[in-house]
């Protein structure tokens, strides 16, 4: 069956592309591998965007392109594809207004996440509302949507996409189009692929986002000679609650308690400075740190004073009125834990009244800030696992949004969103930029004037 435009994926990048195409008069057919109820990929777990702006009504102040560029370089160390990175930075300026025009409601004021209030705008209801709003819109624009229709292969010859194969009702079906937009996200939910880097331990890694992001279109493009970009092995990984489901826990499984206590592994050893002054910028390092421990398991331990200092947790803490009892409850050696905590409490130096300046440098691994003594029962423990947010590696594109091949470019094939985020963020992550990459590149692929 021949279509005008085929879009692979059903998250923010795909939807932004679909809206742009339709508004330019190009009919779109969209393939989403998930059921209708679970549509929207990782985009349904988001809640804010980061974009360069002058003072506006959605944020607490202006944020220049230079600042944004500096922040991006700060987390990633450098751009893999400066041309595309600059384009995204530049076009991010139009994003909030475009979203509002397409029925997204922004919050006027935000609380809680103050560190982001100037740079990021928060939309009402979060990502589920974002994608549902766009789905309603593209339905009105007569986009044809196939659900439960994974794309299993892409056929490419001589720099041209000749067609795609979709699985529909357990049967392979071919589709062709004038133009193809690949917006199927990363491969973070593909445990087999991940085991290339993580081996056996992959079974203990939680996938925070959609179980449907298995990266099949990405792999097919790579096999067809597309150039890659973004760091291959790594992904964005944070510490999440061990009790959370293997996939799709979204934002709620993360554990923010770490700076307020100590973190130990199964052998009751600390393995990193919990008080390093990086929070919240690089709190993601804790995902990798936990992944490196025996059984990919660790415990954050705090006392009752610290409750209320960090975001509440989805699962209740494991509680006890003595350290021994706590060790029993989580199955650790009571004696070791008592020793560790008395060493920790004993060596704390309080420079002044600000707990930020409380530290313990007598330990083999120091705790450099927030060294609050653990001495006020009840004590609380949270079991930690690594939680993968997304993978970094994707497809290289050029400034028209087209996929770059080893020899040339795809004349009629574009990539947008997570699948192409490596062009901007080779590794590391800046809160709120995933959607910005998706919206700007999605619109670019949809024909947004490329001047």
């Amino acid at each position: 069956m021949h279509q005008k435009v085929i879009i692979v994926g059903g998250g923010n990048a795909a939807l932004s592309g679909a809206i742009e195409c339709e508004e330019r008069g190009d009919d779109v057919t969209l393939f989403e591998t998930s059921t209708a109820a679970l549509r929207g990929g990782n985009s349904k777990y988001t809640r804010d965007i980061r974009y360069a702006h002058e003072e506006d009504e959605f944020t607490a102040g202006g944020y220049t392109k230079d600042e944004l560029r500096k922040d991006l370089l700060g987390v990633s160390g450098g751009f893999d594809n400066p041309e595309v990175a600059e384009l995204v930075i530049d076009r991010s300026q139009e994003m909030a207004e475009w979203m509002r025009k397409h029925n997204i409601t922004f919050k006027k004021e935000i609380r809680g996440t103050l560190s982001l209030s100037r740079t990021n705008a928060f939309f009402m209801g979060g990502g589920r509302v974002l994608v549902d709003t766009y789905y309603k819109l593209i339905k009105r624009l007569h986009v044809k949507i196939f659900y439960e229709a994974p794309i299993v292969s892409i056929s490419i010859a001589n720099g041209v996409v000749n067609g795609i194969t979709a699985m529909i009702d357990n049967r392979e079906k071919q589709f062709t189009a004038d133009r193809y937009i690949f917006a199927s996200g990363g491969y973070e939910a593909n445990k087999q692929w991940l085991s290339k880097f993580w081996g056996e331990s992959v079974k203990n890694i939680k996938i925070r986002g959609s179980r449907y992001n298995t990266g099949i279109p990405l792999r097919s493009l790579i096999e067809n000679g597309a150039l890659m970009c973004g760091s291959e092995k790594a992904g964005h990984m944070v510490a999440v609650d061990t009790r959370s489901p293997e996939f799709d826990a979204g934002i709620v499984s993360r554990i923010d308690a770490i700076p307020w206590g100590i973190v130990i592994n199964k052998n009751v050893e600390r393995f990193y400075d919990e008080g390093e002054d990086i929070w919240p910028k690089r709190y993601a390092i804790w995902g990798r740190l936990v992944a490196e421990q025996d059984s990919q398991l660790a415990y954050a331990i705090i006392d009752n004073k610290s409750i209320g200092k960090f975001m509440p947790t989805a699962y209740p803490s494991i509680d006890a009125y003595s350290i021994d009892e706590l060790a029993d409850n989580i199955g650790l050696k009571a004696q070791d834990l008592s020793h560790l905590i008395s060493d920790f409490n004993g060596g704390i130096v309080k420079k002044d009244d600000d707990v930020f300046n409380w530290s313990n440098h007598k330990l083999a691994i120091p705790k450099s800030h927030w060294a609050v003594p653990i001495n006020t029962p009840p004590y609380h423990a949270y079991p930690l696992s690594p939680g993968l947010t997304f993978t970094y590696q994707g497809i290289r594109i050029n400034r028209t949004g087209r996929v770059v091949l080893k020899d040339g470019e795809l004349e009629n094939g574009f990539a947008a969103g997570e699948i192409a985020s490596g062009n901007v963020l080779r590794s590391g992550y800046l809160a709120g930029f995933g959607l910005t990459i998706g919206t700007t590149l999605g619109r670019l692929a949809g024909g947004w004037e490329n001047d």
Partner: protein, 348 residues
Amino acid sequence: MIEGNNSTPEAIRQMSICNACRYCEGYCAVWDAIEFKPVLNKGYISHLANLCHDCRDCFYACPYNDPDHEFKLNIPRVLGQVQVETYYANIRPKSMKFALERPILFTSLSAFIAVILVMVYSSLLFGLNKISTLPMTTIIPVSLFKPATIAIYLYTLVIWSWEALSYWSEINEGKRFTASGVMRGVYDAFFYRNFLGGGTGCKVPGENNKYFRLTAHSLVFFGFIVALISISFYPNIFGYVGITYFLGSLAISIGTVALIYIHITEDRGSRSQKQSSLDYAFTVLLFFAGITGLLIPISTGTNWFNWNFLIHDALIAVVFLIAPFSKFIHPVFRLISLIKYRSDSYRL
């Protein structure tokens, strides 16, 4: 969906997930109030439940509401269940609990008995054939009407206060109301601040609705107040007062029809069924009260005027008599929770 009698643990499970998420911040007071409590307890869940007016914005916004998702969240339903359980726990006298358990039976029986009583009473006093011809003030003299209505109002207020105190002792956490909290809370309640869902409206009866229920609910609410003020002029219920009474009744009638329509068409799965039948019983009663009120000016001069007026009075009396044992606990508990919420936030 089977509903047990203690939904609090399930509500705590679900709301703890929300507390780690808070994407719904901005939809209603629940999402502001939850930020004061990193660890939720029973009293606070009851408070949150009465702050929820079941607009379902948070249900449709939630990526965890799919029945196949391990979290299985449905905040409006679980809070609706807890809300009804706070009525059960704080109804006074406690022996009236059965009225909440069988709301449709209780309401229709009360209405039926009241109508029969009024008819029997007036027939015995004046004779069945005379009723339609005697002047209304002979059947219900002002000297009876005024003290009777005042007595009924007082009775309702006393029981409401008794229940309110009980509810307040469940949720107060040893804190007090503040003066500005009271003012703001009352303001919120009257001006439906929370109904607006942070600008996105109220998704009842379905996902694509916005202001349908707001309109229906405020027609009933303000219609009721207008009618209440008008009737206090009895027996001068003609002329201007007649017009306002008519308009009040009209608003109640239209509003209740819309609410009944919501009840019939809405998606069953998203609602607490106990809550649903409480709503339904009381809405239907109000509908009949509204319709008979509407007929007062229409029937003026005909020989069924008196009959209609008597039935109408009986129904209105029932509304007040059973208010503390019905859905009409809701305005009281909701107001208390709104005032607590406002008092808490202004203490910060």
